[in-house]
Symmetry: C2
Subunit: 348 residues, 2 copies
């Protein structure tokens, strides 16, 4: 069933049928419009998107690249993007970069071939200079061909960006925890190459220092950015002796859940023997016992904002530089970090 068939059935030319179906209905006689519509319905006509695309140059979709589908972090962002895209009549296609910068670059190449109207990349940028250049290159070519690029959570690339305020969230969390009386802490983080982890790490350290707590008395451990990474780190920690550690901050909730699990397996009670805090506020954070203190990130909002940036006409913002929207985060104190008794007074 092609446009030709519909046109014939309706007794008009292909041009008119095209106008009635997709183009500006304004300049078509209303009875012709209805005749075409009826014919299309009768024949079960569905426009051939690829043909439209070859003719028009682009396809009404937004291509979303995420690091990992199964991660609620990304699926929450996806929800926001999908909601906003649907409102704009765009279809969202999701592809997975699997946390590999090379794969990310290669995916963008592939996606370019699909000529989507928008490419949104959500993921923790890995500080990898080689691929960084290649990615920028690929995206610039895409933009030169009329595409729009928006990045989520990876600032410092020359494209409109929705940035999660990881530094400040971690900073405030540290201050709250210091305020609750914690003094001896351990930070479990991923390699500093992973930007999100690094930002949360530095933010947390800053917050501690602002509260008069020097990192000398405390320490950090590097591990993988996953639940099992958190588990392993905590297991190692317990094995070599907790040495009065009062609280473990893991740079994301998945890791924090791993930490809790390791503590329990070692016969310790999280929140009583050792406090635990995370970052992200994923849904399990409230289901775990004790409920996990964390920093909530409005991910759906981040997705919506990304679409807003993508659809904004940036001629206006053009001269103001690269638009960056900062998504604020908020601390959620829960039972996994009870106030340290007798210390509350010492907070300043």
């Amino acid at each position: 069933m092609t446009l030709q068939d519909v046109a014939r059935e309706a007794g008009v030319s292909a041009a008119t049928a095209s106008r009635a179906l997709n183009g500006s209905t304004r300049n078509v006689q209303s009875d012709n419009v209805s005749r075409v519509l009826a014919a299309a319905a009768r024949l079960g006509y569905v426009p051939h998107v690829s043909a439209q695309a070859t003719a028009k140059g682009s396809i009404p979709t937004v291509a979303l690249v995420v690091s990992d589908v199964a991660d609620p972090y990304f699926s929450s962002i996806a929800v926001g993007i999908i909601d906003a895209a649907e409102a704009g009549g765009l279809v969202v296609t999701m592809t997975v970069a699997d946390r590999s910068p090379e794969r990310e670059v290669q995916l963008v190449r592939t996606l370019r071939g699909q000529r989507p109207q928008i490419i949104i990349i959500a993921g923790s940028r890995i500080n990898d200079t080689d691929t960084r250049g290649a990615l920028i290159d690929e995206l610039k070519q895409y933009r030169a061909a009329g595409g729009r690029v928006v990045l989520i959570s990876q600032p410092e690339l020359p494209f409109p960006t929705v940035a999660i305020d990881n530094v400040d969230g971690a900073r405030l969390l540290a201050r709250e925890l210091a305020g609750a009386g914690y003094r001896r802490l351990c930070i479990i983080h991923a390699p500093h190459r992973i930007r999100t982890s690094y930002d949360r790490y530095t933010g947390f350290v800053t917050g501690l220092e602002e509260s008069g707590i020097s990192m000398d008395a405390n320490f950090a451990m590097e591990t993988e950015f996953t639940r099992s990474g958190g588990y392993e780190a905590a297991r190692e920690l317990v094995e070599r002796g907790l040495r009065n550690i009062e609280l473990i901050f893991a740079v994301n909730d998945a890791m924090a859940l791993g930490v809790m699990s390791a503590l329990r397996d070692a016969g310790l009670v999280p929140g009583r023997d050792v406090a635990v805090a995370g970052f992200d506020d994923i849904s399990s954070a409230v289901d775990v016992v004790p409920a996990l203190t964390t920093v909530t990130v409005p991910l759906r909002t981040a997705g919506l904002e990304a679409m807003r940036l993508a659809l904004a006409d940036d001629d206006a913002a053009g001269e103001a530089g690269i638009p960056t929207v900062w998504i604020p985060t908020a601390v959620r104190l829960r039972e996994s970090t009870p106030p340290v008794s007798g210390r509350l007074i010492t907070v300043r």
Copy 2:
């Protein structure tokens, strides 16, 4: 950068360039092949997928329709599909039906327009006769145009299907729980229209009956198929009195987590005051305390199998009827359902 540009740069015709780049490299002189490849690389050429699609008729993608992106159930399936698709050189695009049958039909229409090679629908089929017909119709048209359809977890539509053995999983769970000594139970389920919920419900009841436990002594509550649905149902249950209920079975883990949360909020300890069991074995099931007894569903496998079905040449299976792959499930007994002391002997 079009194929023409590459052809010119390589000093060959567009036809040859096309053959070298995509078609059968066999029938092109090897030095021409390398010259074209080099030119393409130099120019940063990316094939225009839509143009290829208009010429060839279909696009090398698999369109995946899920009910909800944020639900780990679907994202796990997606992981399997993506892995298998990548191995076959196909790109996966995901769209969300938002648990609405109407939306599902409409999406399939839209997707048909994209001419993907494969459409996979993953979702709990809702027993809705109106849309059922429309969906079948749409899919048949798609198939008539050369597309391949695979359904996940919604048997009884005339297409190849990957079916999760919900009935049997729930049945075995019920038997295990009966074996552990539970006698007075409550089943919290979604409306029977939702097939997955219904199957798990009936499977569980069957399992109880096989263990000599009649439903007369027990009862069921209907609620939403979500965490908050579970929460509300359990809250209501507690409010009107638990009346010796020993165990609550929620037809999925999200609901079970809601149940646990409601119990805790009511001052009860899940697993001690009331046992709780779920279905799906989502990742939080092991993080929650006590760890949740549930039924594990190998969702990634389901995704892989779906792709296998899609890629299988079904001329072979053609006469054997509609291929259906059953994905087995397995009971995971954990701390949320400790054996009922003193009753173990009564099990038969």
